[in-house]
Symmetry: D2
Subunit: 330 residues, 4 copies
Amino acid sequence: MKAKNYISGNRKPVILDTDPGMDDAIALFFLMGRQDILEPVAITTVFGNVSIDKTTHNAQKLLKFLDAEEVPVYRGASSPLIRDRVSGEMIHGESGLGEVDFPEPEKSSDATSTPAAVAMAKEIMARPGEITVITVGPMTNLALALKLYPEIKEQIAEVIVMGGAMGQGNRTASAEYNVFADPHSAQIVFESGLSVAMIGLDVTEQSKPGQKERQLLQKLDHPVATKTLEFMDFFKRQMKTDYDMAFHDPCAIAYAINPDIFTTRSMDVRIELTGTYTLGRTVCSRGQEEVKGVMGDPDSRNVKVGLGVDREKFFEELFTSFRKLADTMN
Amino acid sequence: MKAKNYISGNRKPVILDTDPGMDDAIALFFLMGRQDILEPVAITTVFGNVSIDKTTHNAQKLLKFLDAEEVPVYRGASSPLIRDRVSGEMIHGESGLGEVDFPEPEKSSDATSTPAAVAMAKEIMARPGEITVITVGPMTNLALALKLYPEIKEQIAEVIVMGGAMGQGNRTASAEYNVFADPHSAQIVFESGLSVAMIGLDVTEQSKPGQKERQLLQKLDHPVATKTLEFMDFFKRQMKTDYDMAFHDPCAIAYAINPDIFTTRSMDVRIELTGTYTLGRTVCSRGQEEVKGVMGDPDSRNVKVGLGVDREKFFEELFTSFRKLADTMN
Amino acid sequence: MKAKNYISGNRKPVILDTDPGMDDAIALFFLMGRQDILEPVAITTVFGNVSIDKTTHNAQKLLKFLDAEEVPVYRGASSPLIRDRVSGEMIHGESGLGEVDFPEPEKSSDATSTPAAVAMAKEIMARPGEITVITVGPMTNLALALKLYPEIKEQIAEVIVMGGAMGQGNRTASAEYNVFADPHSAQIVFESGLSVAMIGLDVTEQSKPGQKERQLLQKLDHPVATKTLEFMDFFKRQMKTDYDMAFHDPCAIAYAINPDIFTTRSMDVRIELTGTYTLGRTVCSRGQEEVKGVMGDPDSRNVKVGLGVDREKFFEELFTSFRKLADTMN
Amino acid sequence: MKAKNYISGNRKPVILDTDPGMDDAIALFFLMGRQDILEPVAITTVFGNVSIDKTTHNAQKLLKFLDAEEVPVYRGASSPLIRDRVSGEMIHGESGLGEVDFPEPEKSSDATSTPAAVAMAKEIMARPGEITVITVGPMTNLALALKLYPEIKEQIAEVIVMGGAMGQGNRTASAEYNVFADPHSAQIVFESGLSVAMIGLDVTEQSKPGQKERQLLQKLDHPVATKTLEFMDFFKRQMKTDYDMAFHDPCAIAYAINPDIFTTRSMDVRIELTGTYTLGRTVCSRGQEEVKGVMGDPDSRNVKVGLGVDREKFFEELFTSFRKLADTMN
Ligand SMILES: [Ca+2]
Ligand SMILES: [Ca+2]
Ligand SMILES: [Ca+2]
Ligand SMILES: [Ca+2]
């Protein structure tokens, strides 16, 4: 892995691997508003919150809405590597985007011609050492790319994963959804030797908007803010809760823009693949008190695990992006 | 399970199942100082921190030290049900009691004549519905008793377990030592239908003495306080740390004396028996967002999980006991 | 393990651990007819084909039928160590003994006063090095005895297990019923270091009576032969087959009487406890071509695996026993 | 899956997925000699007996030797999907082809430009419903192709797998090497819904040449026969055995040429992925006596399992091919 230092003025080229998904949509807004810092090389889609047909269609609708159809969308995996598919309609609604309306894309893009994993590898090899891959869905596409084209491992700048949890999971007591949905792919990514930042529930659960953030969103008075509020309202109705949805996927974008608002720790992280109750758990070891032979080798600190986030700054970054987007879109 | 209400004035009869172990020793001091509330029916020993020969011998030495050799000691399991034995000399020293001196018991007690599991069952059946079993080591003895004499399940008042963790483990990233050391026995106990209180690391890690508690111990100026300080000093030397050892096992005694100083939550707790990295994890589910079919059945809230402890009151209870013991022993 | 050489004239004392069960009943007939060679020290019962209440009652009925109520029956485990109970009413009928009638035992024997595992251990320690344990049901009782009284390991002459399969299983494609029903107990027994002979399906499937054996049974014209034929008829009706039931459990008795009619091979046998499709498989390795680190250590040939049986001699032994029984019972 | 009926005169187009490997080489000879029946569309290589660099180089050398460099070779996976790589130098020697000499390919072919999985999918989609994939190594390439291009599932005529075992394994007591080397890929293939014929050890162990076949080979007096004999001699020296190597991989070619020389049975076959001792076992169920909920659903007879082979005809087919090859090569 040869990460380049980005000279001020240069943008960081990123591929967003996503299963929209309401918080995926907000993450995409976030990304597209900061094109001064991030360069969206491609959007790759994956099954997850809903089927691959829907997540791909959703990605195209969101780009249409953002007037950014020039960003290529590559359709990816329709199912996990090994396990059966589990999806998230109970949270994200039948369409995956709540009941929130978005315009239809004019034409079917080139989404189906090249599989996401192949496209991802081509983009990476075209700009060796430069591209950051941000996964905010199951990691199937990146896993397939690594298995098909092992040479990309040396040429990816960084992988930023929204996924996993050192503490409690969300889909099960043990596991976070994106890892639970394809734990074998997560293992391929985590044990690849790539530079991986895991932005998991330990961080993203701290990113639930509160009353203050709601009001700031309302004041923005711009389509992306409005859509974000509509997602939040759908979530509350759907889940019958009185708290707001966590902004899981946007945290990965925030990390790409400004990692300094997160506290992280290098840990030995393994994916549990055989447990009866723990399938898909991201076992995080500090590499100290562990029984030899299980894990916790101090030399294997393979993942930078996000443990804390500066909430204030996170929302500041998000709203900055939304404001910039407002300027562009009008 | 038919728990009796203890009328004020009645003592709660308890069996302490233990693998002394330094914090086991402190737990035993704690128990023996509150014989106004707790009635020590028997001490049963188990392999664990050190071998069964040593833990049994240690239990006898501790009772001799406390001038309480009338409490019967029953020697228990020498190995876990299924897995290989893992022990804790690296923490508790070769003898299991640091390098702290205790008097030799005058005679070999009746420790070997009846196995702990058989003795435990006999005591329970002799006082149906009355006895609380406190396990502060691997749960092999209670598991064997339940398998041999299923009828005791209806006659145990409560099981208080020092063991498990909802958060990080200590022996591995996933598992706490007492459960890791015999996960199959833990499963037998946790899924028995018994009323189980799990006083795990989430609570006991909050029970590390600080400067204040050290000073209070020093002021007590009594053999049990002195021995406790010697254990604490051994731990710091042995582990090369600057923090004090957690008082894991004494927390279980505190719960037996006064459960109100703990906050708990009823959860569906399962022991992971097949995981590659998660063997012995106590998977704790709130029974809500889980995938159906894995666990999290809202009707299966089988364990009362300790989540918090009032530190202040915990040490108050402990020192109260030590003071009472001082009165008795002199 | 100190096996004695039995001087001609001395009988081999055996404990039969059983879950009657139709073939268990035939095994008991077989055993009781050869009291010139085998000494039935005790019958211990276990859950299995039917519940522990029924298997215990069946054992008592069978002894009454054989006019042998002096042989003590000890009631054993009602459930497997870890897994859920699976039983065999679909084969053995609701009662466990087909619809075949047996007399009621006059009095409830001492079956419930001492658990089978405890009784087994006492008998073994009373005659150190002498007793052979024959298990023809799930191995829970012997496993519990070994865990409670590890000292018996040195004092058991031999364990003869009806259970396991090197080839296809019967309860699942991978596993034979007695091992599948309590694989954890099987592991305790197989990895105990005891001298174990595994008389599994590879042998017992060769012991299905054919037309010739049916006729010989009919000719015997004695109650035990008649009952055996009634079992065989029930099996054919129940399973809607045109072949006869295998005499699984009687093979273990035949091995106790005359091991020379079997061909065996010392192998490294392990019980699969974590497989998705292979739970309870008896993995048999010849200790040669295996990947190091999995199993197949040439030094660990822990089990003598039955691979072949001389059918002719097997039935000859069985009918000899039945004839002797006829003499005794009349 | 739409398998075409091949009209007499039409050749069956096949992709051979291989890890040469000595028996792979013999399989390739076998295939190339019967181009009247089989059309070699492509050779795809995979890690296995030796590294992907070596297996790819070996495939190219073998085609050069056969004067058939027009058949494209596509380099495939260098490692299994999930597990660590295990290889077979102890059997096939450092190079993978014993110490048997073959000419160097003149130019590095296009082996590296398109990954095997991608090339495989393109060939399949170019001739929908026509192509038979024969895998005689770990199944990683086909698994990746199925995950990347799920649409090929409908367009593969048949998959013929040399791999698996209903009886004893070879790499472990439980597992055959090709499945053991990448069990997760095997599961993807076996549970894909494709028409799979499993030509496993139950059949291929019957294909060891004997004295008669050696003599016939010697009489052929042709380079391919000579090389085959050199492989056989290397095997005997290497393994210090006095029996000949089994012709595992050639059996899969024989099945492609003439399935009628094999007896098969449709079974429910699952790959064990979580077992401690049984990783990579092909669990074969007849779908009858199994416990409901484990496997053995009579409706899921997903694999045609080879149980027997007509040895005579197998070698007849092989030698016919060798003779035809002799005609071509001279
Ligand atoms: Ca997502
Ligand atoms: Ca302890
Ligand atoms: Ca039986
Ligand atoms: Ca091969």
